[in-house]
Structure formats: structure tokens, C-alpha cells
């Protein structure tokens, strides 16, 4: 799964949905892989406005990408900064989580990721 996916997921436990701590989930002991994708500035421009940037900064820093600024770049800033463009391309479009866990900060449940597929089925006591 792409790292970007974490921006669209939250804890599957019903009681957690209303808690701000259930998003984003926190990667733990994750192995990452990079799948090469041809440069695509238009895709990047159109993904950025729908991203929760604060959550992305949290996810990225937890996975060791600490170069993100506190606020999202404008298209003009991005076009004028080749390094930022490359970094965001790598982070958002190419980086995949292959193994590890995603942890809810509200209930502590860990969702396992195996071979790039996360398991969000809950054990009986959490359904």
C-alpha cells in the first residue's frame, strides 16, 4: 500500500471514529519499498489539495522523512523547487508500506501489514 493511503484511513473501531486520535494511524516497525513512477507534476498538483497536510507531516516524520515543511507548498512554490517536487513525488507516489503495523493512538489496536496489504478486520471483542 502507498504511504499516501494512510491519509484516507482511520481506526476501524466504531468508538474511535469520533476521536481525533484515530487519525492518522501511526506506522510501527514498517518496511518501506519504492515503486518507480514517471514524473507526473499534474498528478501531484491535483493530489495536494485533497491531502490532510498535518497528518502527512506526522506520518512522514514517523517514517523518517523529515524534510516536509509545516504548511503545504503552493503550485508556484512547487514548480520553482525541483528538489521539493522530487521529494514529494517520492513520498506520495512511490513510497509503499510493505510490512509492519499501523497503530491507533486512541485504542492502541495494531493493524498488521503483510506483503503490502493491511488487515483491518477486527477481533471479536473490538467489533
Amino acid at each position: 500500500m502507498k504511504l499516501l493511503t494512510l491519509n484516507f484511513l482511520s481506526c476501524a473501531v466504531k468508538a474511535c471514529k469520533s476521536s481525533s486520535a484515530s487519525f492518522p494511524l501511526h506506522p510501527k516497525d514498517c518496511e518501506l519499498e519504492s515503486a518507480e513512477i514517471a514524473p507526473n507534476p499534474k498528478l501531484l498538483f491535483n493530489i495536494l489539495p485533497r491531502i490532510d497536510w498535518d497528518a502527512l507531516v506526522v506520518t512522514a516524520s514517523e517514517l523518517g522523512f523529515t524534510s516536509l515543511k509545516a504548511t503545504p507548498p503552493t503550485n508556484e512554490e512547487l514548480e520553482g523547487d525541483e528538489k521539493m517536487m522530487t521529494d514529494l513525488h517520492t513520498l506520495l507516489l512511490e513510497t509503499q508500506i510493505m510490512e509492519g503495523s499501523l497503530v491507533c493512538a486512541n485504542c492502541g489496536h495494531e493493524y498488521k501489514v503483510k506483503e503490502g496489504i493491511a488487515n483491518f478486520l477486527l477481533p471479536n471483542h473490538l467489533v
Binding site: M1, K2, L4, T5, N7, F8, L9, S10, A12, K14, K17, F23, I37, N40, K42, L43, F45, N46, I47, P49, R50, N75, L93, Q96, K114, E115, G116, I117, A118, N119, F120, L121, L122, P123, N124
Partner: protein, 256 residues
């Protein structure tokens, strides 16, 4: 006709094999009226800064072989009028999730070979309906549910995934989960419909497959009953000559 993604690699002893219902979804999503609807909805006239609207997120629930999601993913430019869509799938069956990823890869390679575009696939998640998703994110939701009326609803698999290949009993259970819908074939679909208003974005819409015994008219009325801006219409159908499995696709959306 747009080409159907290849699923010859899929193990159909534990994953639902593309059938009439799958193909009705493909035909409906690529029909001229639905293309027109999706083009208009996701390509609003340029705003003042000249940028496109944000990339739509397309999520299929119950991807099975992945034939429907891969079709939309590969033919995004024709169906949506833009290639920059994000796609993701959810299925209770881990093997279906693996199969879908593979089907997507093959469909992407096919597009590339022909010099054509495709969307950005985020991945597949093992989960129960929309429960892994954050609210308000999904722009297009596609669901070919377990719609066959059955005396009982099979239990969902539990948290941990077993090691090794599934047994014959496991396989039967996975296949049963793909079609058995409980009372009126609606028990699983009803849960999805209840979650829909929270899951869809402002511009979101859903494509849902139903059979005659699911009482599609009641389903549409229920969704319209959510409020004045909610719409529900039949946008595709097959098996008009009769028979118990007359199928239709309904589209559910909000008018701004």
C-alpha cells in the same frame, strides 16, 4: 467497448469469478450517460487559478478478482475525462486483495504497452465494508455486494490471517461471503447504505448493484428519504426477460 482486464491469474476456488453482475458494472460505468455524469461531476469548469479540481478517490468495496476496479483504473481518462484518479479496494478476503493488486498491475502494463494512461493505485485493504476509511473521503464508491437472499449470513473472518494455503472449508467460506446476503439479500448492503452518507465526500457518488429480490425501489426511496439533496436512480440493468436474478445498478449521489 473498452477491453476487460485480464483475470486469468485469479484462483476462482476462493475468489468470486467475474460474472454477469461484474460485466453489468463495467458496461454501466463506461456507458455514454455515466461517462457524461462523471465527466461533468469531476471536471468542473476551471476555477480562477486555472487548476483542475482535486484528484477523485475511487474506492471499490468487495473487489474480488479486481476486474471492476482495474477497469475503472485503466480507463480513467475515458470514464472520468482525467487520468489523475486515485483508486483503492477493500475486501474481507485477503486472497481477493492480493488478486486485485495483481489484476491492477496487469491492466497497467496493458495500458502502458498501448501508450495509454492509468490512475494511481493506492492499494487493497482487508476489511469490513468501509470501516477502514476516514469519513468524507470517497468520491466514487463501487459495490457489487453479496446480494443473493440466503437463510443465514456467513460470519466475517476474524482478525488474524492463517498461515499457509486455505483449506477447502476456508475456500467455501470465502465464496459464500462473496454472494450470501442474508434476509432479502440485503443484510450486508444495508450496513453499507447506513455508512454511505458519512463516507462519501460532498461531490461523492456510489454505484451499487442490486437484484430484483433486494427490492431496488425500496432502496432508492430509502436513500432519497435522507433529504432533499439525495438522489438515487437506476442507471443500468440486465436480465429484463425475467428470472429471479434480474440485475440493476443504482447510482446514489447528492445534488449540490
Amino acid at each position: 467497448m473498452l477491453p476487460t482486464p485480464s483475470t486469468s491469474h485469479v484462483a476462482f476456488d476462493r475468489i468470486y469469478e467475474p460474472a454477469e453482475d461484474s460485466f453489468l458494472l463495467l458496461d454501466t460505468l463506461s456507458s455514454p450517460p455515466e461517462k457524461a455524469f462523471l465527466h461533468e461531476r469531476f471536471n468542473p469548469p476551471n476555477t480562477t487559478d486555472g487548476n483542475s479540481s482535486p484528484s477523485p478517490l475511487v474506492v471499490e468495496i468487495g473487489t474480488g478478482s479486481g476486474v471492476v476496479l482495474s477497469f475503472v483504473h485503466a480507463h480513467a481518462e475515458i470514464i472520468f475525462g482525467r487520468e489523475d484518479i486515485l483508486t483503492a479496494g477493500v475486501d474481507v478476503n485477503r486472497y481477493a486483495c492480493e488478486a486485485t493488486s495483481q489484476t491492477i498491475i496487469i491492466a497497467e502494463q496493458e495500458q502502458k504497452r498501448e501508450g495509454k494512461s492509468h490512475g494511481l493505485y493506492l492499494g487493497n485493504i482487508v476489511g469490513d465494508l468501509t470501516s477502514p476509511l476516514r469519513e468524507g473521503m470517497v468520491d466514487v464508491l463501487i459495490f457489487n455486494p453479496p446480494y443473493v437472499p440466503t437463510p443465514d449470513l456467513p460470519a466475517l473472518p476474524q482478525g488474524e490471517v492463517k498461515e499457509g494455503l486455505p483449506s477447502f472449508e476456508d475456500d467455501s467460506k470465502f465464496l459464500e461471503l462473496s454472494y450470501a446476503g442474508g434476509a432479502d439479500g440485503m443484510e450486508t448492503t444495508s450496513r453499507l447504505l447506513d455508512a454511505l452518507p458519512a463516507i462519501l465526500s460532498e461531490r461523492g457518488c456510489a454505484y451499487l448493484l442490486l437484484c430484483a429480490q433486494n427490492r431496488p425501489e425500496l432502496v432508492k426511496d430509502k436513500m432519497r428519504g435522507l433529504g432533499g439533496q439525495w438522489k438515487a436512480e437506476t442507471v443500468g440493468s440486465s436480465g429484463k426477460k425475467g428470472g429471479w436474478e434480474k440485475l440493476q445498478i443504482i447510482r446514489i449521489w447528492r445534488e449540490p
